[in-house]
């Protein structure tokens, strides 16, 4: 075990029964919004990738963890308390925004479930971004910290209740609201959503080079 990878839990913020945000000491590690870290309980040989939820300017790291039934790491992490240690590798990854586009680019962020994490990071890091965010969840209470996002920019698509902004899947919403060709699209979430949304965007004329994806599993 390498002590230089050890970070401390600052706080645990429970969002639902199975989702929580871990706030962890950053120890000056630089990162680009959209990158992820490999996170595991200190001393464990198991770790997992988590997108960074907090912003580039924040003095800490935050990650959004969704507890998975068969997931070894998310269960271990859930038991951690303030002051406990975790091991971090990274930050890593290429799911980032091209700096030249930040000022004038037009962005569409599409997430399912905890796939919203990198978009929370984008919007926290670059408050001036011109973006729309479509977040697909089963129930409205899974619209994690939705008040963080600009009111007219965030569409919560719920397929299990009618308490969101749109009743149906994100793919249904995109079918009804075609995406303009000049949009830079960022997809983060489960495999099926990414598969389907990519095809939809292609049909709607968005060039493949403007579609970026981070697959969650």
């Amino acid at each position: 075990m390498h002590s230089d990878n050890l970070h401390e839990i600052i706080s645990v913020r429970h969002l639902t029964e199975t989702a929580y945000v871990l706030q962890i000491t950053r120890r000056g590690l630089p990162f680009k919004a959209g990158q992820h870290i490999l996170l595991g309980k200190a001393g464990s040989i198991h770790n997992r990738e988590y997108s960074i939820y907090s912003g580039e300017q924040d003095s800490f790291f935050e990650v959004l963890v969704k507890e998975v039934d068969e997931g070894m790491v998310s269960k271990q992490l859930k038991k951690l308390k303030t002051g406990d240690k975790v091991q971090i590798e990274g930050p890593l990854g290429f799911f980032t925004i091209i700096p030249e586009l930040i000022e004038n680019g037009k962005f569409l962020f599409i997430a399912t479930g905890s796939g919203i994490a990198p978009f929370h990071c984008f919007t926290q890091s670059y408050p001036e971004l011109n973006y729309k965010l479509f977040h697909g969840v089963r129930y409205a209470n899974e619209g994690y910290e939705k008040n963080h996002y600009a009111k007219n920019s965030h569409i919560l698509c719920t397929s299990g209740d009618r308490l969101g902004d749109f009743y149906g899947r994100v793919t249904d919403y995109i079918r009804l609201n075609p995406v303009s060709h000049d949009t830079h699209c960022y997809l983060c979430g489960n495999f099926n959503m990414i598969h389907e949304v990519f095809d939809l965007l292609e049909q709607q004329g968005v060039p493949a080079e403007q579609v970026h994806a981070e697959v969650y599993f």
Binding site: N5, E89, G90, L92, G93, L187, I194, A208
Partner: protein, 483 residues
């Protein structure tokens, strides 16, 4: 005392194995091909396919049975997933990441095994295993083994298996060939392709210091090596992990090219594998400037469809790939192009497969390593349904293979009548023939029973072409005949 080593998997593992052998030899053990003769049995494991891991399990069950009749020590290293590591800790005497190879003598001695070298030269055993980094520049100094450290005999609980890889690189390899060698320039992977488990087995990308690489290369060239391959999971992201404190891949190639020019020696330098995401025009420009940098590019595409590439998490589009190939064709018109392709990846539709089939015609690869998708334990895609039926995968595999042979045959036919320099690699399967490859790694056979040619460059005139090889005739023989 003898050891027996099994190496599974890729070129990276073969290269690692060469370093494991050095450590074993320094301890005084000699290698045997027969496990019955060995006191130490080791496996360099591969996690790319379940089959390879199954081999490890079947072997260790056999070895543990052998322990009933003789004293044995077993170890496993290489590419191991955390879940397998937990099992291996119960089955093997030693489990360690490759980065801890320099500590193997300590681990073995803690098991109470006195090494042959230890019996003879207890003091000298502490030396010569790992030259210090500075020594690589000065060449003569050696580093004492850290016997005073008190490490557990069972290692391998690192979160990042690559941590400490620098010391591993200081172990000199026992090259298996006298004219072809691999030089690892990087370990690990940060790309997280969804079909691959390497980031979980080898850890993060770590670049080897360029001074060590250049030193190893110049030593090999001085010894007469003719073909040297720079190895890494993503060679063209070399140096990027050092954040400005190390040269990048184009600069590394440039230094190698300049060394080649100044050395006056004849050799070819290859690299594998680059990732299209980090492939720059500069890399290709540098290759075009220096003759020792071989005109052969292995550029894995995996799929010709943007949607599949997205789900594979390849982080590049076909447009980017096209741009790279365009630059290769423009700056290196004689270069051969190799690739890797996976058919039948989860969810791959007929239409998406067609996109891949089309690029076979577009890029006209000289060689493609085509794999039918199979679930790789530990990789992200192992959680998804492997939903393409076996027969469909097989059919797609055959269709692509046919395309490959068609286009490589076309290319090989253009070589007929040309004189080409080839590196002779050994006897051919065909009696009375030697097997060689061109700078572009086109397999070339020619009639000769003179083994002195093996490991040497010779000139041949290409007389005939086949889909994946050509046949030639030694040029100097022809001259002799006409004189």
């Amino acid at each position: 005392m003898k050891y027996h080593l099994i190496s599974l998997g890729c070129q990276m593992n073969l290269s690692d194995t060469e370093r494991v052998k050095t450590v074993m030899h320094k301890m005084g053990f000699s290698e045997t091909d027969h496990e019955d003769e060995a006191s130490i049995l080791g496996i360099i494991a591969c996690s790319v396919r379940q089959k390879a891991i199954d081999k490890v399990y079947s072997r260790i069950y056999k070895w543990n049975k052998m322990k009933n009749r003789k004293s044995l020590l077993t170890f496993v290293s290489g590419c191991i997933l955390p879940s397998d590591k937990e099992q291996f800790l119960k089955l093997f005497d030693l489990v360690f990441p490759m980065s801890e190879l320099p500590d193997l003598p300590i681990m073995i001695s803690q098991y109470g095994i006195v090494t042959p070298a230890g019996l003879q030269h207890l003091e000298s055993e502490r030396e010569t295993l790992m030259p210090k980094p500075e020594a690589l520049e000065k060449e003569q100094k050696t580093l004492l083994l850290p016997f005073e450290t008190n490490k557990p005999a069972v290692a391998g609980l690192k979160l990042n298996p690559a941590a400490g890889i620098d010391e591993f690189w200081h172990v000199e390899p026992t090259y298996t060939s006298g004219f072809e060698a691999f030089i690892p320039i990087q370990n690990g992977c940060d790309k997280f392709c969804t079909f691959c488990a390497v980031p979980y087995t080898r850890g993060r990308e770590v670049s080897r210091p360029s001074v060590e690489i250049l030193n190893e290369l110049s030593n090999l060239v001085e010894k007469g090596f003719k073909s040297i391959t720079l190895l890494g999971q993503n060679v063209n992201s070399y140096g990027l992990d050092k954040k400005g404190e190390e040269i990048d891949f184009p600069e590394l190639l440039r230094k190698i090219g300049q060394y080649g020019q100044n050395s006056g020696k004849d050799f070819w330098v290859y690299f594998t594998s680059p990732h299209p995401r980090d492939m720059t025009d500069e890399v290709i420009e540098v290759i075009s400037l220096y003759p020792v940098l071989a005109n052969q590019i292995h550029l894995p595409v995996q799929s010709g469809d943007d949607g599949v590439l997205l789900r594979m998490n390849r982080k590049h589009s076909m447009e980017k790939y096209r741009h790279i190939v365009g630059t290769i064709r423009r700056l290196l018109p004689n270069a051969t192009l190799f690739t890797d392709i996976i058919v039948g990846f989860t969810g791959e539709t007929d239409e998406q497969f067609e996109s891949t089939r089309k690029i076979m015609a577009e890029f006209q690869y000289n060689m493609a390593y085509i794999a039918q998708y199979s679930v790789r334990p530990g990789a992200a895609s192992s959680r998804w349904a492997d939903d393409i039926p076996k027969e469909v995968k097989k059919e797609r595999y055959h269709l692509l293979t046919n395309e490959l042979t068609k286009y490589s045959f076309e290319y090989n036919k253009t070589l007929v009548g040309k004189s080409m320099r080839v590196l002779v690699r050994g006897r051919d399967r065909k009696e009375g023939y030697l097997s060689a490859h061109t700078e572009g790694k086109i397999v070339t056979r020619f009639a000769s029973d003179n083994d002195d040619h093996i490991g040497q460059f010779v000139d041949v005139k290409i007389m005939g072409a086949a889909p994946l090889s050509v046949e030639g005739k030694l040029v100097h023989q022809e001259i002799l005949q006409t004189q």
